[in-house]
Amino acid sequence: MSKKQVERHVEELRSARCGEDNLNDATVMLAAIHAGDSNAAEGLLVLVYDELRRLAAAKLAHEAPGQTLQPTALVHEAWLRLVGDRASSFNGREHFFRASAEAMRRILIDRARRKHTERHGGSFHRVAFEGFDLAAPLVDDQLLAVNEALEKFALEHPIQAELVKLRYFAGLTNEEVSEVMGISVSSAKNYWTFSRAWLLNEIEGA
């Protein structure tokens, strides 16, 4: 489904709700996904992506300079804002958090790539190197390296790669991951240990 088709799908859902806000869209989509509608998963990703970007921008506008955001706080706030008390069952949580992890990954990677381009690209625009920015380039480069390694990882170990997305990009705990993925907490811990070794090995071996 193209992005335009997804956006039209979301708009159709919105107007079908007769002007009701996003709070109902997410629960409608979660129910649809649970019923097997794969198109709704794309719509949910757009919705969650928009909400997370909005929340991140709003928080950054109010924080003192040098503050950083915790993805896990954003994801949990997006859950409250988009679904919250209206979640009658917890079946939708899994899809929501998976979509949030993917949305956060895209948001963070897009920003890291943009900043990487600013630093290494042809533009003469000077990037301010205040104290906290000196640390940022290393973090951005690591993030891009992790993402690239993760894409390779997903080809061989898709379940563990999904777990890394949930833990690293959505900031879920081992307990939350085990609930979302339907695996034991000890499996979640073991997979996490395995994944970190694999990714480090991949990044350092490159």
Binding site: L60, T68, A128, W198, L199
Partner: protein
């Protein structure tokens, strides 16, 4: 990579890190059963595991740092 191979790699690694170092070679002999590719991969992962520290334990917030837009 076949699903079974991937699963074995995870399982053997997970057990190997629990085994005392001096017994690891013997453990890998038994667990890998002549599968050299599997053994090579697991040994590589075990080395990385020793260096992992708190890699990925910190959230990737660099991309959302205020002022570094």
């Amino acid at each position: 990579m076949k699903e079974d191979d991937a699963g074995r790699e995870v399982a053997v690694f997970t057990e190997a890190i629990k085994v005392p170092r001096r017994q690891r070679a013997a453990f890998l002999d038994q667990a890998c059963g002549g599968d050299d590719e599997l053994r090579r991969k697991v040994e590589s992962l075990l080395k990385a595991h020793d260096r992992v520290g708190n890699f990925l334990e910190e959230p990737p917030t660099g991309g959302l740092a205020n002022g570094s837009n």
